[in-house]
């Protein structure tokens, strides 16, 4: 479960990115967080993965106190999440296989297990035949599928996707959303940050709308209303 209680984030000197956000996401939900650029969506995600700390408030993810978390415990939190970034954030000097395997290596999974799990996940995202390629030898859509494979491989309970389709064409966008839906069908909580109206309207799942750092709308089967 993801729980935000009265969370605010103020950057010095007095730039309010997120203001008094109260939010609860239950296990297995598919939630879209929408809003225009600069409204605080990414800051919200950064606080979820402890890349940023809130100025005020309480954040809990799967029972872990993220707001007051000691830096040395941050990797424990991140290993419970799968994170998909708009700019992919792939390791350029590692192959597709190694990029995906890295998420398991940091968890201390044995090489035998890695060699068994990674090919299965690459098959799910349709990249099993390109396992030895480097990121710069893949298209944008393929790179994003590697990121999805990496975020999935350690079987997280929550997947956080920050504008995962921002750099993709329509065909690849639809493919990525289909994969996220399938992941959600397996019981994984998906938090999707986007400003793509078509995706949100097509999904017909919970939509949280953010404006000027505040939640202005939260609908169970919502639409993109901005």
């Amino acid at each position: 479960m993801i729980y935000f209680k009265n969370v605010s984030k103020i950057y010095p000197p007095d730039i309010v990115a997120v203001k008094d956000v109260h939010l609860q996401i239950e296990p297995g939900e598919f939630v879209s967080i929408v809003g225009q650029s600069g409204t605080g969506k990414t800051t919200l995600i950064k606080m979820m993965i402890a890349e940023e700390r809130p100025t005020n408030g309480e954040i809990q993810i799967n029972g872990l106190d993220v707001a007051g978390m000691h830096p040395k415990n941050v990797p424990i939190l991140r290993r419970q999440l799968g994170v998909i970034f708009q700019d992919f954030k792939l390791l350029e000097k590692k192959t597709v296989f190694e990029n995906v395997a890295f998420a398991l290596q940091v968890c201390g999974v044995s090489s035998g297990q890695i060699n068994k799990i990674v090919p299965q996940v690459l098959e799910i995202v349709g990249l099993d035949k390109k396992r030895n390629r480097y990121p710069d030898q893949l298209s944008g859509g393929e790179q994003q599928r590697v990121v999805i494979a990496r975020s999935l491989v350690h079987a997280p309970k929550i997947i956080v996707a920050d504008e995962p389709t921002g750099n993709l064409d329509t065909l690849n966008t639809n493919e990525v959303i289909e994969i996220l839906k399938r992941i959600n069908d397996l019981g994984v909580t998906v938090v999707l940050v986007t400003h793509n109206r078509e995706i949100v309207n097509m999904l017909r799942r919970r939509v949280i709308t953010i404006d000027s750092g505040m939640i202005v709308n939260d609908q169970a089967k919502g639409k993109y209303i901005l």
């Binding site: 290993r79 970034f85 390791l91 590692k94 940091v106």
Partner: protein, 304 residues
């Protein structure tokens, strides 16, 4: 634990060869820095050998009067023998001195015929003193500076050699001082160069480190491959440096052997004798410096 160790070594090796351009540039800079150190070590070695070669050729002769009694000369000999600053003593009686004199001047008929006209040997016995250190000659000669001995001593050649010995002492002192200052300056420059090369290399990996952290890697999991990689770099640079150094010595030694004729000094021998201190010190220093630079440069990226 073993999985962790094996994994970080593998990641370090991958970092090394997949960034081969960056690795080679780093090695080039490290080798250049090590070569500058080698030059200082060699110059110091050659200088100190040259100085000791000259020092070994210096001695002081105490020339006795022709009527000096043997037992008094023996007294002086014993006094000097007990002096810890004396390295060796060689006594030449009057006949030996005369023979040597004749030998030296064998082609000077004037001197030889003048000698043969004399009824007695005009030369006194000689005691040749060699000190362990050129600075000690003055002190050694002062130890026999008593009226009883002065009465039988005709001359001490220190008066002729004194300025030369003082000059050598001065050169030795200056050489050591310059060597020390140069070593210190070079150490500081080397530290700055190595620190910045490693820092640049880490900055180029900055994004990669941030991604690793975002995926859930602990600080040690991120840090260890980089630390192991810089140990690889240090060891490889050291090996390259060793190859270049011994190659240069192979070429230079024949000329130095001629210069130091008779002294037995060779650069290879000098380096082999001090291998653990010089080369071991270089390797250890380089590894420590690399590890320190990497740890400092990575701190910024490892803050959660």
């Amino acid at each position: 634990m073993w999985v962790f160790i094996f994994r970080v070594i593998k990641l370090a090796w991958q970092n090394f060869y997949r960034n081969i351009g960056l690795s080679l540039i780093t090695i080039l800079v490290l080798v250049t820095t090590l070569i500058s150190f080698d030059v200082i070590l060699i110059v110091r070695g050659v200088m100190s050998s040259a100085i000791s070669l000259v020092e070994n050729r210096i001695d002081v002769s105490i020339i006795f009067k022709t009527n000096a009694p043997e037992e008094k000369i023996r007294d002086i000999n014993d006094t000097l023998k007990n002096n810890p600053a004396v390295a060796s003593l060689r006594y030449k009686d009057r006949n030996q001195v005369l023979e040597e004199f004749k030998k030296i001047h064998s082609e000077d008929t004037g001197i030889i015929s003048a000698l043969s006209e004399l009824s007695a040997n005009p030369l006194g016995a000689v005691l040749v003193v060699r000190a362990k250190n050129t600075k000690d000659y003055e002190e050694i000669l002062k130890s026999i500076e008593i009226p009883e001995y002065n009465a039988i001593i005709e001359q001490k050649t220190f008066d002729d050699h004194g300025p030369v010995i003082q000059k050598i002492n001065l050169i030795t002192q200056k050489t050591q001082q310059i060597g020390l200052i140069l070593s210190l300056v070079l150490t500081i420059v080397a530290f700055l160069i190595i620190f910045n090369v490693i820092r640049l290399s880490i900055i180029m990996h900055g994004e990669e480190i941030e991604i690793m952290k975002l995926v859930g890697a602990s600080n040690w999991f991120v840090r260890m491959p980089f630390l192991i990689e810089v140990i690889f770099l240090a060891v490889l640079s050291w090996i390259f440096n060793l190859g270049i150094l011994y190659g240069a010595i192979y070429l230079a030694d024949p000329y130095l052997v001629k210069f130091f004729e008779g002294s037995g000094f060779t650069l290879q021998g000098y380096l082999n004798d001090n291998f653990l201190l010089f080369m071991g010190g270089e390797l250890l220093g380089l590894i420590i410096l690399n590890l320190l630079s990497t740890s400092l440069a990575m701190r910024k990226y490892l803050k959660a």
